[in-house]
């Protein structure tokens, strides 16, 4: 039995007196695609912020590829194999598309500053390698031809795809996608689903995604967790979750409130 890549147990966090998340448990294996759904404010993005150490948990533990992430800095957690995209796009808008990817490439360049300024061979060699890697990655998303455009000038859909490419450049074992289909039309969403499958197989990574678009979630996820008021209220296959009365109530309850 292989141990899971990501093992979260009894995770919880309080903001002031409010329990934003409690008793959150999840085990994710390699190449799994897991969906995280729930009404607004259920604590979905809080889970991502905890997994990436942006928030420090009040309770529970997170183990990533067998290592406890507690006490690590954010960049160290990223380097140990977890990467994410953002609900509201957060690219480095002034940097070119390729620089956005190169900056995230794992295992930073090993040339010194003097070598860079004097343009010594090692600088050229390593820059060339990282450019090639970045271009290959952009090619997966059909964006290689946009490499030198400023990231901020890209159309919305391309920016979303670039965020995924940039996250992949950190060489993660687990990729967290926060509403990747937000603002996309049905055909773009379909294309995104293909891309997600493709990168899962190509890079051998586990993917956890938060999404409101049910066609995407039901179509792509092998397993779904439903959060409401910071608690997991249901989990299972898309079929099981779809027919779960607790889930239906959580969503209908929300509709009544609107």
């Amino acid at each position: 039995m292989m141990s899971p890549i990501l093992d979260v147990s009894h995770l919880g966090i309080d903001f002031g007196g409010l329990q934003a998340l409690d008793d959150f448990n999840i085990q994710v294996d390699a190449k799994e695609i897991v969906g995280l759904i729930g009404p607004n404010g259920a604590g979905k993005t809080t889970v991502f912020n905890l997994l990436t150490n942006v928030y420090k948990p009040s309770r529970g533990s997170i183990s990533l590829t067998g290592q406890d992430t507690r006490g690590k800095s954010i960049h160290a957690v990223t380097q140990s194999g977890i990467a994410r995209t953002f609900q509201n796009i957060r690219l480095f808008r002034d940097l070119s598309v390729i620089d956005n990817v190169k900056i995230a490439l794992h295992n930073g360049m090993k040339y010194t500053m003097a070598e860079a300024i004097l343009r010594l061979p090692r600088y050229w060699k390593q820059e060339k390698e990282s450019t090639a890697t970045a271009l290959k990655l952009l090619d997966v998303f059909n964006m290689a031809h946009l490499a030198n455009e400023p990231a901020g000038s890209l159309p919305y859909g391309s920016q979303r795809r670039l965020e995924i490419a940039r996250a992949l450049a950190t060489n993660p074992r687990v990729l967290l996608l926060d509403e990747p289909a937000a603002g996309m039309n049905p055909s773009e969403t379909q294309e995104l689903m293909d891309t997600i499958h493709h990168i899962r197989d190509m890079f051998d990574i586990a993917i956890i995604l938060i999404e409101h678009d049910m066609s995407l979630v039901m179509g792509i996820c092998e397993r779904i967790l439903v959060l409401n008021y910071g608690l997991i209220i249901a989990q299972g296959t898309p079929e099981e979750v779809r027919n779960n009365p607790v889930v239906i109530e959580a969503y209908l309850g929300q509709q009544r409130g609107e």
Binding site: T52, V54, S73, I74, H75, T78, Q79, A83, R84, F86, N88, R90, L91, F92, R93, D94, L95, D99, K102, I103, A104, H106, G108, M109, M113, A116, I117, Y123, E127, S130, R166, A167, A169, T170
Partner: protein, 290 residues
């Protein structure tokens, strides 16, 4: 002919302002702090190079190298000790701390070296004749060294991984961390580079204006700050352009109007910039942070 002479003088002092302004601008770009202790780094650099050369009798090159290292270490230490613990607090606390550090360094210098000015012997002797006017070698060296440093800095920021990391942190530090960038080392690196540039500026300044005193950094720092604002604080080409503009404006005022008015003109420029284009020549509005 005097016009050319004044312009060259303006370029000389302007390049020094530009080197110092770069430190203000880079630090502001990364941590959104006006580092008012930056002027004092110049003063420490001046004392350091003076001490190495006249007391330790070191040759110029090692003395300058030591000065650059001392200033870089000082800049990084100030950030680590005084600013880092306040990174998440209100901007005003940081600003007041920076002013506090500035006073601390000034008074320490006064305690150690007394308030009596020290004299620094010029590293560059001789002069070059242009027409009827003589341009000192120090002026030529100042302009030359500054140009080389600014080109090197541009390469560093635009072409290297650490430079790109600096730009990424300046745009969105939280997202940068989540892409595996060590924000603390990027911030330290920025302070080190800014302070090293100030150290070189200190040496160049001392070559033309030989007096070293504990308060020499305040006015020089303040004018460089005006230069950074004029160019657009946070912008590297802005700091370079702003520095040269301020230098030339000052030199032309001295040459054609009155030496006493030159400071008034510099600060007048600050007021006009703040009224008409507060973001400066190259500046853009602050990024919307989410």
């Amino acid at each position: 002919m005097t016009l050319i002479y004044q312009l060259i003088n303006g370029l000389q002092i302007g390049s020094i302002y530009a080197l110092v302004a770069l430190g203000y601008s880079m630090v502001y770009g990364i941590v959104r702090l006006i580092n008012f202790a930056h002027g004092e780094i110049i003063m420490v650099g001046a004392y350091c190079v003076w001490f190495c050369m006249s007391r330790l009798a070191l040759p110029a090159l090692p003395a300058v190298a030591i000065t650059v290292i001392v200033c870089a270490v000082l800049g990084v230490s100030i950030e680590r000790i005084a600013y880092k613990p306040l990174r998440k607090s209100a901007r005003i606390s940081l600003l007041i701390t920076a002013i506090g550090v500035s006073f601390l360094l000034q008074n320490l210098a006064q305690l150690i070296f007394t308030a009596n000015p020290r004299m620094f012997t010029n590293l560059f002797t001789g002069s070059i004749a242009i027409g009827t006017q003589e341009i000192s070698a120090a002026t030529v060296a100042t302009i030359g060294v500054s140009v080389v440093l600014m080109i090197a800095l541009s390469v560093l920021v635009n072409k290297t991984r650490i430079g790109k990391a600096m730009r990424a942190v300046s745009e969105d530090a939280d997202a940068a961390q989540l892409m595996g960038i060590n924000v603390n080392s990027v911030i330290s690196f920025t302070f080190a580079i800014g302070s090293a540039l100030a150290a070189i500026a200190a040496v160049l300044y001392c070559c033309s204006y030989s007096q070293i005193s504990p308060t020499m950094g305040s006015m020089l720092g303040l004018k460089a700050f005006v230069a950074a604002v004029l160019g657009g604080i946070g912008s590297i080409p802005g700091a370079m352009t702003g520095g040269l503009c301020i230098g030339i404006a000052e030199s032309l005022t001295k040459g054609y109007i009155s030496s006493q008015l030159s400071d008034a003109v510099v600060f007048g420029i600050l007021i006009v910039v703040l009224l008409i284009k507060p973001t400066g020549i190259f500046g853009r509005g602050d990024h919307q942070k989410v």
